[in-house]
Structure formats: C-alpha cells, structure tokens
C-alpha cells in the first residue's frame, strides 16, 4: 500500500535574554552547577515570579515575523508534574491564551518549489533544570542553572509530509531566530530542541492515523534519521495488520532506532490551571508597532533584495541569505570589490570549502571580507589570474592576519604578479616555438578546426614557463599570431 507520512513539529527555542523569565538570575551557559539558581528558581517558599519584559518582546518579534496573530491578552498556566529538576512541581507555561497565535512559514524545497507550513501557536514557558544520573553512587545530581530559562515553544500544524520538509522547516526557524536575534540557536548547547509528532495514513485518506511523539531530537541530521526509522517502523506494523500505540518515544542515535520512553518518565495528565501568581499580560497596538519598528530585514526580504540588487540567481541568493553572518560577509565583500557575482562565487566556493574543512563559522574566517574584496579587485585589474588568486587566498588563510594590505604584499613577496609585459611573454612564446619544432609542424599542417585544440599544448607550455603568471589572453593572442 502507498502510505503518506504526516509530521508536526514542536520546537523549543531558548530565548537569548540576560536573565531568567521569572527571576533575576543569569542565563549564561556553562557556569558551575547551581551558581545561577536563585531562590525563585529553587522554588523557595514565599518567592513569587516576576515576568521578564524582554522575553515578551522576543516572542512578539517572532510572531510578527511569521505573520501570526499576536495575543493582545495572554496568560500563564501551571503544567503540573513531578520531577526533581522541576522544584515547584509545575512548569509555568501558556495553555489557553498563548502570546503568538496562528501564523505560517514558507519553506524552499530542493526541487525549487515553495511549501507553506502552518504554525498553530507559539507560547512562552520556563525551562527545567538538568538531572545527572552518572557517578553519584546511587543518587541523581540536580543542576538548576537552566531552570527558569525562557523558552518559546513553536508548534507547527501537521502540514509536513517528509523528512526533507521537516529539516527545511527547522532550518528556516533556525535561520529566523538568529536573524531576529532572539536566540543563538546553538543546538549542541540545547538552545533549540525538537519533538517530532509522526503518523502514517493510506495515501488519499483524509483522517489522520495514530501518532507517536519522538522527544528531544537535537540535530537536523538526527531529525531526518529519526523520521526515516520511525516511518519504517510504523509502516511495518501497519502492513502486518497491526495498530500503532499512541506513545512517547526516544530516538537512540547510536542504534539508529526509536524506542518507547519508560512509563515513569511520562506524565500524561498535566492538570493545567491558570497560574495565580501572575496576572494576565495585556499589550496594545503601540507596543506591537514599537516591536515592528525594531524588526531587522528578514531572510525572505533579503533573498528578494539580493536577486534585485546584485542580479544573483534565486538559488545563490537563498544560499547566501540563509545565514545572517554569511549574508553580511558577502555584502561587505561585494560593496568593497564592486563585483557581486565574483563575491558570491568566492563566498559560496573557496571560502565555504575552507570553513568547512577547518570546521569554522564565517565569523571565525581566517580571511577577512576586506582581504577577499582586494583579492577580487586584483583579479579584475589583471594583477593576478584567477588560478593564482587561489594561491594568494591559501596564503592569507594560513597567516590569518585579516589585514587588507597583506593581499598586495603577498603578491609582491611571492612574485605572483601576472606577467603582462608583452616583451617578456613574447620571449617565452618564441622559446616554446623554437623548442617544439615537431608540434609546430603538426599544427601548421592541420585543418583550421583542429588547430584550436592543438593550441592548448602551446599555451600550457608558456604558462608552465611563466610559472602560471603569464596573462592567458596575451599568450593566446601572441601564439595565434606567430604560428
């Protein structure tokens, strides 16, 4: 039978506030255990939460970026469950009146098509602490530094139909939160985490099948793999005539399989009720206008501008705009070199390859935007050939100086300047012709259409003699004349 996969994603994003959502403790990652856990975070008796206005502003910013309805009146609720890393015995969350209502995002797929994914809602809540189960001789260690870190939970509609679409959606959300500067999006530090809801139904059927939820998948690659193996598992069961149990599962990356969470870890009756310690949040149009005013250029707008302003292809524009830092680097190179096309090619080609090889992000690039711009100018004014430019680029990468002046210095020091002195080139051409009489005779006896191919041999010899520095256009011209 033909099965259709139906996927909905819940993405938890840690908001990049300095302090926690309900206390004045720091949210900085990596501090010694429990040094950033205040009396509120520890649920000491008599403490009360005080809501961080910046968390609200960031949530509204996200809502506006996905064209969502903003909750002019939203409220917090208690989600009750017992776990040692949640000292209050409940998580403050939003159930009935979330800050961000229905919106949508458009994702670009590999075949060039665009698909709209609905966002059901996004709500504010607090993160829990961390449990460490190793090395405490029969006990569990609790670190509450993370407790109270603001989270935005973004819930998608079940509009996603494949692992590819799921990853494209996640990458878009990731790019968006970084553009908006509401989160660093660092998945390795848990700044963005994902739950995957997944079910199968016979193609053409309108009602959904029974779904499972895979909790806490923490990289794009694992989301893709988890969807593949879970789809396969469900299909095998359904094709054997079995039925899917609605349950929460975990993805085990080492074994590449999903397995049910132990029932003890699952509290499925959260007994939500309104949080009496916090008043309703009411915002007005003036507030929304002020957030709108601070909105940066969004990825979609940037792509359109790149196509228009720099005459880039849609594909290139999307690639460059997908990451805010990459887009900024490209624009710096482009405006300083005055050659957008070459800038795009270098950023997506040589630079991307080097960054990849050394596992660096673009802000850590060992070649600065100023240096790359000068290098492109030197190609364009024919100081160096495109091939030699790669040698210069490698040298810049090695020395990691970032100073623009080093480009011309390296060209001078290593004698890489393109030879455009026609006298010098002519001497080399004469040498090559004199030293290869047999090839010269073959060339002269050949038909016009075959000569073009044969000319390559002579060009190669001259370039070799000049150590790659002769101006190729001049070499071609001189050889043509003399042969």
């Amino acid at each position: 039978m033909n099965w259709e996969t139906v996927i909905g994603l819940e993405v938890h994003v840690q908001l990049a506030t300095k302090s926690k959502i309900f206390s004045g403790a720091s949210t900085q990652f990596g501090a010694a255990p429990n040094t950033q856990a205040s009396a509120v975070d520890l649920a000491m008796p008599g403490t009360l939460p005080v809501f961080n206005g910046e968390a609200l502003r960031m949530a509204v910013k996200f809502g506006l970026a996905i064209g969502a309805e903003i909750g002019m009146r939203s409220a917090f609720d208690r989600k009750n469950y017992f776990y040692p890393d949640l000292p209050k015995g409940y998580q403050i969350s939003q159930m009935d009146y979330p800050i961000v209502g229905r919106g949508h995002v458009d994702i670009g797929l590999a075949d060039g098509s665009v698909k709209t994914i609905g966002v059901t809602r996004a709500h504010l809540e607090e993160d829990a602490g961390k449990s460490l189960h190793e090395d405490f001789h029969g006990s569990t260690g609790i670190d509450l530094n993370r407790a109270g870190t603001p989270l935005l939970e973004i819930v998608s509609e079940p509009d996603i139909r494949s692992a590819e679409q799921a990853v494209a959606y996640l990458k878009y959300i990731h790019s968006l939160i970084r553009y908006l500067e509401i989160s660093d999006g660092d998945m390795s530090q848990g700044s963005m985490r994902c739950d995957v809801n997944i079910s199968l139904r016979p193609a053409g059927q309108s009602e959904f099948g029974t779904r499972t939820e895979i909790k806490n998948v923490n990289s794009f690659r694992f989301v893709e793999k988890a969807i593949y193996v879970e789809t396969e598992r469900q299909r095998d069961i359904l094709e054997d005539g079995g039925s899917i149990v609605q349950e929460t599962r975990l993805y085990d990356a080492d074994k590449n399989e999903t397995r049910p969470m132990r029932s003890k870890e699952v509290a499925n009756d959260y007994r939500y009720f309104p949080e009496p310690d916090l008043l309703p949040i009411v915002i007005d149009q003036k507030y929304i206008d002020s957030v709108q005013h601070d909105m940066p250029e969004l990825p979609k707008q940037k792509v359109a501008r790149f196509v228009e302003q720099y005459q880039l292809s849609d594909y290139d524009a999307r690639l460059l705009a997908s990451d805010r830092d990459t887009a900024e680097y490209f624009e710096q190179v482009s405006s300083a070199s005055d050659d957008a096309k070459a800038s795009a090619n270098w950023v997506m080609g040589e630079l991307a390859a080097q960054l990849n090889r050394d596992e660096l992000s673009i802000v850590e690039s060992r070649v600065s935007a100023e240096q790359l711009a000068v290098l492109i100018q030197r190609i364009n004014d024919q100081t160096v050939s495109g091939k030699i430019a790669k040698t210069v680029f490698d040298a810049l990468w090695q020395e990691d100086s970032k100073a623009a002046v080093r480009v011309d210095q390296i060209i001078d020091e290593q004698g890489l300047k393109q030879v455009s002195d026609s006298g010098a080139i002519e001497a080399m051409v004469d040498d090559v012709i004199a030293n290869n009489p047999q090839q010269v005779e073959n060339y002269r006896n050949s038909a016009e259409d075959k000569r073009k191919k044969m000319l390559g041999f002579f060009v190669g010899q001259v370039m070799k003699a000049s150590q790659g520095k002769a101006n190729p256009a001049q070499v071609n011209q001189l050889l043509n004349d003399k042969l």
Binding site: K18, S19, N34, Q36, L132, R271
Partner: protein, 95 residues
C-alpha cells in the same frame, strides 16, 4: 459529571498524596458535592462574559532584563539534605 474512588486515587497518585481506602471514598463524596454545585452554576448564561484568568482587575507588570540575583549556592545548599560537587542529590530517578 461525577467521580468515583478510583479517580481520587489516580489524582492522589499524580499529586504524590498518600490516601487510604476509606478516606478516598469520603473525598470522592465531597468532590461530587462540589461538582454538583458546579453543575448548577453551568446553567447560568455566560456567553457574553470574558473568561477570567485572574480575580484581580490588573495586568502583569514587566521586569527589565537585568541580572540582579548573585550566586548564593552556599547558603541554599547549607539547608539541603545532600549535595556533592555543587549539585543537589536526590534518590536515583532512573533505575
């Protein structure tokens, strides 16, 4: 709507409350009395009334995003039953 003893036992378990058989039966009876009263209140037409999320006629004030709480781990852990390497220790939660 009404509840029986098994509902009470379930909620008690979720709330980590110890409750014996006899008490569970008494609590079920009391909860049913309350639910009956709620059933009566359901008869009131509330279509034009905004749901109330808080009894106070006020809205949430916002705090500036500043770090105001400094490290007091030593003081907090002085009253904890068990700590090690800066962590609070609790009975193992995963067997």
């Amino acid at each position: 709507m009404s509840v029986d003893r098994s509902d009470i036992e379930k909620v008690a378990a979720l709330s980590r409350l110890a409750i014996d058989n006899e008490t569970a039966g008494q609590v079920a009876q009391k909860v049913n009395d309350i639910l009956e009263m709620i059933d009566q209140m359901q008869a009131v037409d509330t279509d034009t009334v905004e749901p109330m999320t808080n009894p106070l006629d006020a809205t949430q004030r916002l705090r500036a995003d500043e770090v105001t709480e400094l490290d007091q781990r030593e003081a907090f852990q002085a009253i904890a039953p068990s700590t090690e390497a800066g962590l609070f220790l609790v009975p193992k939660v995963i067997e």
